[in-house]
Structures are given as structure tokens and as C-alpha cells.
Symmetry: C2
Subunit: 333 residues, 2 copies
């Protein structure tokens, strides 16, 4: 089994932390670089969280580049501390990493990796799309250089989560999202339709919390904060699994059940539709017949439930890794 | 059983014809006046169709007022002959009525009837909302004068039918719809979410066609045209039941199963969201908890299937009426 080279673009963020841990744990993924962008937290804070998580996971060798602080239009709005905590990881204090940020920007890293792994790189974008838009400006042929692009974002037939129609990642930089979706690549969109239906419940969180390994433990703690926010949405302590689901779909570990390829555009007006990912779902009533010229695959449902796979992947990898480290540590001591 | 006094605002239209016939047939409805507006056809053509249908139904005494030709902004776009036929009733030639139009406009009629049946009038709006917007200008206290307002229009979580997000009635006059939804009344919206799920199938159409009464026969013929359009949407000959469903909900003959009261606004921007009825459906995940200050009831599903009730109501009324006329006709001859 060959692992896919991955560029992860994130705004770490509790569910970003889960996505990152998932990609480190998955045998299908080999993370080659991570760029951060302002979204759940600032790009700089997201980069610190990412470095700290990588060190906790024993993967401090993966380069992290700080990306765009501000969206293409306007400026960073301050993040979502009521969802992710003031530090982005649910007030959990991670051991600080002593690793440094990469000298390149996130957009530069993406372009470099796309050239290095020509046709193979899987781009997983789980924050606002500012860095991807900048990379497209740096390298207009980026669409032909990358392998696949998977974006957590938008809401096709489901309600938005910032406005009635806009989802957070797209809302935070509609101009960048419009540019990215209008580029000549076949993107997979992982919208709220499927992420809000992929719910992590309290028993899943307890399984992470009671792990012997530090990464699942920390994720379980962060999820306590996240669950409290989502209790206001679902009426019970649990949470949607936005970002890790996009990661799992990007490496093919999870298969979509319904995922029509449709035309999609982003509303960059100043009307009530601003930030909406306008997906043309009018094929619904005939089982989504093929649409000529459409390039955006919108994942609406999954073949199997996602949460058990997520928890199982995290626990089996990190408990095995930790055990191996302990074994190695004995003769060394 | 008391029948509710009804003002019907329509753009007749095949499904408008069904709604009109349904209201004439329903023991719960007493149609006091009908206004027309440009939409499926021009307001004038819709008025002719309405007069002809009323005469065929033996209800030529119901007054018909011609309403707005153009939307509040811009001008009438020419209708939807590919859906409703060039004459609006699927190329069916109805015996021409010799009745005249009312001397008042549709907006004036609505205001007059609202004052006459103070607190009792049920407004059923199944075309663009231009006349309702004009009536609100004529009589700003209209919301406190009418009983209920039921609007066929919009798409809450379903795709639009003109653009990916805009439904035809709202699309044809977004400025009027914005005004109507922002007025101080509790409106019931009957959007594509429920009308596209309320399907009339070929056996229903055959039951109308093979009726002994002229009104069901004519409706069955019109539906042949409508079915051909909808075959491109559903992949089989059948049709959505937009307007008659709004009529049945307005008189309470059909009960909603899920119908949250939410905030709703209309996108009047020039962006890709223009004409969208932006309903705030974010309460979805907690079973739509009450929203303070919300006034728009959005019907998402029904307690029972609608098509059988529609066909049964039409057949039982018009066959009975026709039979009674024939009996009366014998001694008279």
C-alpha cells in the first residue's frame, strides 16, 4: 500500500487537529507539508498549534509554513473562540514545540510540493482558501501539477453555519473560494451536508480520552470544548466531524455514497447570499444525471459511518507508536 | 363546515388552473375574488385563462381583476411557454368566456376584500408577489386586515428551479417578495421542498382525463403538456404540484408534518443568489427549536400524500356538479 503525498492547508482548530492526527495515523497518507491560514484562529496561532501537535505526535520533521493572515478582500475577523477556544485547541495546553516554521509561505510550499510530486500531490484544504488562491496566482498551471484537491467547505442543500447559507471556510474568504472553484481542476467539496451528518458522540470522545497515548488524550480533551459548542446545535453533547472527514475522503479511506459532479460558484456579492457556495443541485430529482463541463464533486453522503473509522485509526496508530517508543526507550535508558 | 373567504393571486398557468379548480371544488373554500399577475404568462393572458376556466366550472360570477404586468424592478420576461404552453394552459383551447374583467386592479381587489372580510380573508398567492406588494403600498395595515397569507414560492433546502437557488415565483419579482416577507404578517411559505415532493403521476392524470366532467378533462389534457416538461426533471412523465398544494394548505385540507417558523429574506442582489428565498434553517439539527421574532412558516413535508386528495376533490366536486346540471337541464329542456 503506497501512501499518497499530502499537502494540508489548515487553520488549527479542534477539528483541524483531528484531521492532522488522522492523516498522521492513516497508512494511506504521507504528509509532506502543512500550511496555515487564518480562520478558526490566526494563521500564526494555527501554525503554533500545528507545530505543537506534530511534536506531540512524534512528527516534528514535517515542515509547517505560515500562510495568509488576511483574506483576499478585507481583513481577518478574529476567528471563532466560542467554537475552538481562545487558543484554537479548546484551551488544552500542549507541550510547546521547539521546531521553527518553514522559511517559505504556505502558498510557496504548496507550489513547491506540487512540482516535486507532480501529478501525485493530494491537496487537503480544511481552512479558508486564501493560500490556494495565492498559490494559483504564483503558479497558474497548479491545477495540472496537483493530483487531487479536496476542500472542506460550503453547504449544498444543507443550511450554512455562519449565515443561513454560508459555511465558515468559504465565508471567511469568498473571493479566494470563488477563484479556487473557478480554476481548471476537478475539486471535491466536502460540505456541511455530509460533515454535519458525521457526528462524533460522547462514547467516541471517551475512547480517545481514556487512551494510553498522548495524542488521542489531547484530542479527547479538546473535544470536550467542541462538544459544548455543538450541544447548542444538536441539542446533545457531540460534534460534527468537518475536517477529518475531508482528510479521510482525500485519501480514499472513506467512500462517498452520493457525490454528484455539478457546477459550483461562490457568491461574492454583498447580499444575503455572500459566502454561499452555490452548487447546482437541480439534477436531484433524476438521480443527478451527468452535467457537461461540471467539475466540482459534492459529497452528500457516505457509504459507511465515519466516526468509528476515525477513532479506530487514531487509537490503533498512536497507541502502537507510543508502545514502540516505550520499548525503544528501555534499552536506551 | 364554514368555507373560508379566499383571495387568489395567480398567473394561470397549468398548476394555477389546478389550484383554482381545487379551490372551487373544496368545501373549505369560498373564492371571493381572483387577481392575476405576470409570471407563467402575462397578467392579461392569465386573466383570460382564469375567466375561461371559471366559466367552464360554472363559476363565472367570481370577479377577476388583472394585476401587475411588470415586476417592481425591470419588466416582464415573457413567461414560461416551455413549461405551460404558449397560451399558459398547455395549448388546450378552452371555450372563451364572455365575462368581463373587474374594473379594479388586483391590488385594489385584495385591499377591498381584506376590508370586507376583516380578519377572515385567506390570501393564496401562487404567482410572483407584485400584486401583494402593491396592495401593501395601497394599504399599509393590510397585514392586520387579512386572515392568513399562503405563498407558493421559494426553496428552503431544496434546489431552485430557475437558478440553482431561486424558485420561479420569487425569481420573477424578488423586490416584491422581499417586501412581502418583510411585512408584519405571519406568512406560510410553500416552497419547492414540499411541492417537488408532491408528485402527480400518470394514473392520476388518466383519472382526470377519463372523467365525465369538462373541468377535470381539461386539467388532464393540460397536464399532458406539463408532464412532458417535468419528464426532463424527474426522468418520467409526472409533475410537481406547486400551486394546488399551496391552495390546499391555505384552507387546512392538508396538514404540514414539518413546518418550522423561521426568519426568511429574499436576495435582491445582482449576485448568483438573486431571487433566492434565504430561509434560516439552521435549527434543523435540533428539530427546529422556536426562533424569537421569526414569522415565516416554511412547509417542508406533509402528513399525508397530496395527489390522491387533489384528484379525489376535483372529481367528486365536478362530477357531482355536472350531474346536477344535467338533471336540472332535463326539465328545463
Amino acid at each position: 500500500m503506497t501512501a499518497f503525498p499530502i499537502y494540508l492547508d489548515c487553520d488549527t482548530g479542534i477539528d483541524d487537529a483531528l484531521a492532522l492526527a488522522y492523516l498522521l495515523a492513516s497508512p494511506l497518507a504521507s504528509v509532506k507539508g502543512i500550511g496555515t491560514v487564518s480562520g478558526n484562529v490566526s494563521a500564526a496561532a494555527g501554525a503554533r498549534n500545528t507545530l505543537d501537535l506534530l511534536q506531540l505526535a512524534g512528527s516534528a520533521d514535517i515542515p509547517v509554513a505560515c500562510g495568509a493572515h488576511d483574506p483576499l478582500a478585507g481583513s481577518f475577523g478574529g476567528g471563532a473562540p466560542w467554537v475552538h477556544g481562545s487558543n484554537g485547541v479548546g484551551e488544552v495546553v500542549l507541550p510547546p514545540s521547539d521546531a521553527s516554521l518553514a522559511a517559505e509561505t504556505a502558498a510557496e510550499m504548496l507550489v513547491r510540493l506540487a512540482r516535486l510530486y507532480q501529478g501525485e500531490l493530494r491537496v487537503v484544504a480544511i481552512g479558508p482558501l486564501t493560500n490556494l488562491a495565492e498559490a494559483l496566482r504564483l503558479e497558474p498551471s497548479l491545477p495540472s501539477l496537483v493530483g487531487t484537491v479536496t476542500v472542506m467547505g460550503g453547504a449544498a442543500l444543507a443550511p450554512g453555519n455562519i449565515t443561513p447559507v454560508a459555511e465558515a471556510n468559504i465565508w471567511n474568504d469568498p473571493e479566494a473560494a470563488a477563484l479556487v472553484l473557478a480554476s481548471g481542476w476537478d475539486a471535491t467539496l466536502v460540505p456541511l451536508d455530509v460533515t454535519m451528518a458525521s457526528v462524533l458522540e460522547e462514547p467516541h470522545r471517551q475512547a480517545l480520552l481514556s487512551s494510553s497515548a498522548p495524542v488521542p488524550q489531547a484530542l479527547g480533551e479538546m473535544l470536550g470544548y467542541y462538544f459544548r459548542f455543538y450541544e447548542g446545535i444538536y441539542g446533545r453533547p457531540c460534534s460534527a466531524m468537518h475536517d477529518p472527514l475531508a482528510a479521510a475522503l482525500a485519501v480514499g479511506a472513506v467512500k462517498p455514497a452520493v457525490a454528484p459532479v455539478v457546477r459550483a460558484a461562490v457568491d461574492t456579492s454583498s447580499g444575503p447570499g455572500r459566502g454561499q457556495t452555490v452548487c447546482d443541485m437541480r439534477g436531484l430529482y433524476a438521480g443527478y444525471p451527468e452535467v457537461k463541463g461540471a467539475r466540482c464533486r459534492v459529497v452528500l453522503s457516505l457509504e459507511e459511518e465515519f466516526a468509528p473509522h476515525l477513532v479506530e485509526t487514531l487509537l490503533s496508530h498512536f497507541e502502537r507508536t507510543t508502545a514502540a517508543e516505550l520499548v525503544e526507550a528501555v534499552p536506551a535508558g
